[in-house]
């Protein structure tokens, strides 16, 4: 067989393998939802009991309603703020915008469970800031354990996601229209609202849809902040349904997941549509259009910097500062002087406990080496889909969407079962490979997007000339495409590393002795309320993320798509 004929076969093999990896957990969950007992139980028979239970459970409806409010609320908070930040940083002469940009993205890189712990220890009812505020003013007028509090925190932490899409759309806009409006006497704000806003509307709508989706799948923030007041969203309802029954009730967990898929899958499709339109729309301006920055003026500078400063204070300084402080004290509260409480005991204990210190090592291994493996995998998938307009290309597109609709917690549980019951996977179950495979699937759409964006930067002419000169597809990839994207791959690796560092939900059911990871350890420590260790682990997680981020910037990672 000629080498050229192998390319379609290679593409089909890769894409079908990926499809199997994605479809297996999803199919298992759907199958489980229609049974009366765990699928491996002999007593299991086809049944709609699980659906009956949730459809008659008032808690489920409450969780559904709360989730909807949360998702919509998050959009309401994040989209305008993210859009505003993008406008200020890309379209105006804001001072210090060069170094503000990476700072604005920080919340995106932190695990949401770490952020949530950070808020608890900073501005929770007994947080450092709350206590200090109370001692000065007598009372602290906020409460983060309420639904509005959770929504606000969720929204603020998702501002970077909006920023990313809107900023990249804004960068592609020519500035002549804005200039015309300025010349005609419109104020900066008028220009932003009447000229810039309509032009980036597709990007705004897209990021709204994306945030809506993320809102429905959110887990860490409601798990930590909603718990004390019994506020449940769908994902935490899945997690807590066990205690209501007194034993794991997989069929109910699965049925709720199916509901979640029914809600999120349409969102994923809408998003895909929008993305296509957004790209087409933004291209109107064409490349190379000269952009002149809008002048903010002295007052404008002050207002703009204050908005950004306040946002940074609330979204980064408070939670990160809270964690740093809490990690170094054991007792605090009214009447306790913090300076007398400083200690390294929390860290000492973390390093003494084999499971926790192993968790740190595993997290680093999984992020650094696992991240590299994942990039290689995404590259192979990316090549299989690269300029692939056939049926397998379409299958790939849909395979990528499925994991987006599944919460990480459930992907982890499904993989736990797959590794337990699929004979050739059994030896991998108690190794880090089981986590790596689940992580690769959870990170699929994000990772593949980075790789695809890199691949698309290779001009088709280069590939075509290689082909014309007689090279087959593989040779073209090997000698033209891969060498050209190599710098992009290093950046992609750093980004995937950060994604794997902050992951926490996937390992909850999957990890075992020897394969612990920091994020999931924090979830399990939460059940015993061991805040000392949680704070120390959160601190280490922030530290690792900072290292990853520095590396990413050094390697020239493309944070923008």
């Amino acid at each position: 067989m000629s080498l050229a004929a192998q390319a379609p076969r290679f593409r089909a093999t890769v894409i079908l393998t990926l499809f199997a990896m994605v479809a297996a957990p999803a199919a298992l969950i759907i199958y489980q939802s229609f049974l009366s007992a765990p699928f491996f139980d002999e007593a299991a028979r086809p049944s709609l009991e699980a659906y009956q239970f949730i459809l008659t459970d008032p808690e489920f409806y409450r969780a559904l309603w709360t989730t909807t409010l949360y998702a919509v609320g998050m959009v309401v908070v994040a989209v305008p703020l993210g859009g505003l930040l993008a406008f200020l940083i890309t379209r105006t002469d804001l001072k210090g915008r060069r170094w503000l940009e990476p700072l604005v993205l920080v919340p995106m890189f932190l695990s949401s469970i770490v952020l949530a712990f950070g808020y608890t220890v900073a501005v929770g009812p007994s947080g450092f800031v709350t206590i200090a505020f109370r001692s000065v003013f007598g009372a602290a007028p906020w409460s983060i354990y309420t639904l509005p509090g959770i929504i606000l925190i969720g929204g603020l932490s998702h501002v970077p996601t909006v920023y990313l899409y809107v900023a990249s759309a804004m960068r592609r806009l020519p500035s002549d229209l804005e200039e015309a409006a300025r010349t005609a006497g419109a104020s900066v704000w008028r220009v932003s609202l009447d000229v810039t806003l309509p032009m980036v509307l597709p990007a705004l709508v897209f990021s709204a849809a994306l945030n809506l989706l993320l809102g429905f799948e959110t887990f860490g923030i409601p798990l930590v902040l909603g718990d004390p007041n019994g506020i449940l969203v769908l994902t935490t309802y899945i997690y807590k349904v066990n205690t209501i029954f007194g034993a794991p009730t997989y069929q109910v967990m699965a049925a709720v997941t199916v509901f979640l898929i029914l809600i999120t899958l349409p969102l994923v499709f809408i998003q895909r549509r929008l993305l296509r339109h957004a790209r087409r729309f933004a291209a109107v301006g064409g490349k190379g259009a000269r952009t002149n920055l809008l002048k903010l003026g002295a007052a404008g500078q002050v207002i703009a910097l204050s908005i950004i400063g306040l946002w940074l204070l609330v979204s980064v300084v408070l939670p990160v500062g809270g964690i740093i402080l809490r990690a170094f004290v054991e007792n605090w509260g009214e009447g306790i002087r913090l300076s007398e409480q400083l200690t390294l005991a929390n860290f000492q204990r973390v390093f003494e406990l084999p499971s926790l210190s192993r968790g740190i090592v595993n997290t680093i291994l999984l992020a650094a080496i696992g991240g590299a493996v994942a990039v290689a995998f995404y590259l192979v998938v990316g090549l299989a889909g690269h300029r692939n307009h056939g049926r397998t290309g379409t299958l790939l597109d849909y395979s990528v969407l499925v994991p987006r609709a599944l919460p990480g917690l459930i992907v982890g549980l499904a993989f736990f079962w797959l590794f337990l019951f699929v004979p050739f996977l059994v030896p991998l179950r108690t190794t880090l490979f089981s986590l790596l495979i689940a992580y690769i699937i959870v990170g699929l759409s994000y990772g593949l997007r980075i790789i695809q964006a890199t691949l698309l930067q290779v001009a088709p002419e280069l590939e075509e000339s290689a082909r014309t000169a007689g090279a087959d597809t593989f040779r073209t990839w090997r000698d033209v495409v891969i060498p050209l994207v190599r710098p992009g791959l290093a950046g992609a690796w750093a980004m995937i590393m950060i994604v794997f560092l902050r992951e926490y939900a996937t390992g909850v059911y999957l990890m075992s002795a020897g394969t612990e990871v920091i994020g999931s350890l924090m979830v399990s420590l939460l059940t015993s309320g061991a805040m000392d260790q949680i704070a120390a682990l959160s601190f280490i997680s922030i530290l690792l993320t900072a290292v990853g981020l520095t590396l990413a910037l050094r390697l020239g990672a493309k944070i923008h798509d």
Binding site: F40, P228, G230, L353, P354, L420
Partner: protein, 367 residues
């Protein structure tokens, strides 16, 4: 939480006692151990490892693991803190996949472990230490109690300085009713909906004490908050956000109060319930002999001492380090009421009983 020196000492002590007693080189086994124990020990050693599925977190489990490894250097301990539901989930899944990974199951979910026994996933084994346990702490030589952990009150001394502290359940009820407004939002308790332990405490109370839902109602009227763990409540009591938490694991409260002078604890003298961390050997355990040696060690004087040193009081009466059954009974005014390990625990797992309990709980919580 734990004094480091304390547990190093405890581990050393226990290693000394049991190590001398059971090591293969030792000539004599402790009294009551069968003659063929040495042969079993040899087999355990050649198995080389023992895998524990537990809900006892690593901080608390560490001393017993260390003590065991000192006593039996040839047997590695794979310690898996999975939480109660996590452990149960993994055990039934692995049993179905015929890949049993646990040798010893050791959790605070007395009810779930009784379900495992009922499902035939536990192996009977008559421990030579069984005779040292109270009758209620041994179910058919299969499921053993390893601790006796009272249920009680933790409070912030400064915040409650001007109040008369309740010493009995009746006084606790009166305390909540009389100070309804002053205590608004200041009380905390375990949440049976979030925590299996919380459910065990309150469902056991509901079964044994007629005033249970009056107590919950009075608590609800103060707009108290519920939590999923004792640790979470400690955090809030230390910081002053809450003043008093009841129905929490009091053996922890005793430890915390010893360490932090701002905290106090109460065991109600008319009735103090207690639960037990229970242990069984898994059916089809990959290391059956090592499993037996570990279970024996959990129940032996030395293992019990290691546990008691970290706030998990001994179920035996002859353990002198930390608290034991006798001492706790005195502290509870003679009215310590441990939850017996019997099939009655299964009632709590019946969906109908649970639904009934939660209905009454929610109704009472509205105040």
């Amino acid at each position: 939480m734990i004094n480091r020196r304390q547990f190093v000492l405890a581990s050393a002590a226990s290693a000394g006692v049991l190590g001398a007693g059971l090591s293969a080189r030792a000539q004599e086994l402790p009294a009551g151990y069968p003659a063929d124990y040495k042969a079993m020990l040899e087999k355990a050693r050649s198995e080389g490892a023992v895998s524990i599925y537990t809900s006892t977190d690593d901080v608390q489990g560490r001393p017993i693991v260390e003590a065991f490894q000192k006593a039996f250097p040839g047997i590695r301990v794979d310690y898996n803190d999975l939480g109660t539901n996590g452990a149960y989930n993994r055990i039934i899944s692995e049993a179905a996949a015929k890949q049993v990974g646990s040798d010893v199951v050791w959790t605070s979910a007395m009810d779930l472990q009784m379900v495992l026994v009922q499902k035939g996933l536990a192996e009977a084994y008559k421990s030579p230490e069984a005779a040292r346990l109270p009758g209620w702490g041994n179910f058919n030589d299969t499921l053993y109690g390893t601790t006796v952990e009272p249920v009680g009150i933790l409070y912030n001394k400064a915040q409650l300085a001007s109040f008369k502290l309740p010493k009995t359940r009746a006084e606790l009820l009166a305390f909540m009713r009389d100070n309804k407004d002053a205590l608004k939002g200041k009380l905390a308790t375990f949440d049976p909906e979030k925590s299996g332990t919380g459910f065990l405490f309150f469902s056991n109370d509901a079964k044994t004490m007629p005033d249970t839902f009056d107590l919950v109602r009075a608590f609800g009227a103060t707009e108290g908050k519920t939590y999923g763990s004792s640790g979470a409540m400690r955090e809030k009591i230390v910081s002053g956000e809450h003043w008093l938490a009841f129905n929490i694991i009091a053996s922890y409260a005793i430890e915390w109060a010893a360490k932090n002078p701002a905290l106090g604890y109460i065991l109600t003298s008319d009735h103090t319930a207690a639960f037990s961390r229970v242990a069984n050997i898994s059916k089809g355990a990959p290391h059956p002999n090592a499993a037996r040696v570990f279970l024996d060690f959990l129940l032996a004087n030395s293992g019990q001492s290691a546990l008691a040193s970290v706030g998990a009081p001994s179920i035996r009466t002859d353990v002198t380090s930390g608290l034991n059954l006798t001492r706790l009974t005195e502290m509870a005014g003679g009215n310590l009421k441990p939850i017996p390990i019997t099939t009655a625990l299964l009632e709590a797992t019946e969906p109908k009983n649970r639904a009934d309990f939660f209905r009454r709980w929610k109704e009472a919580l509205r105040g």
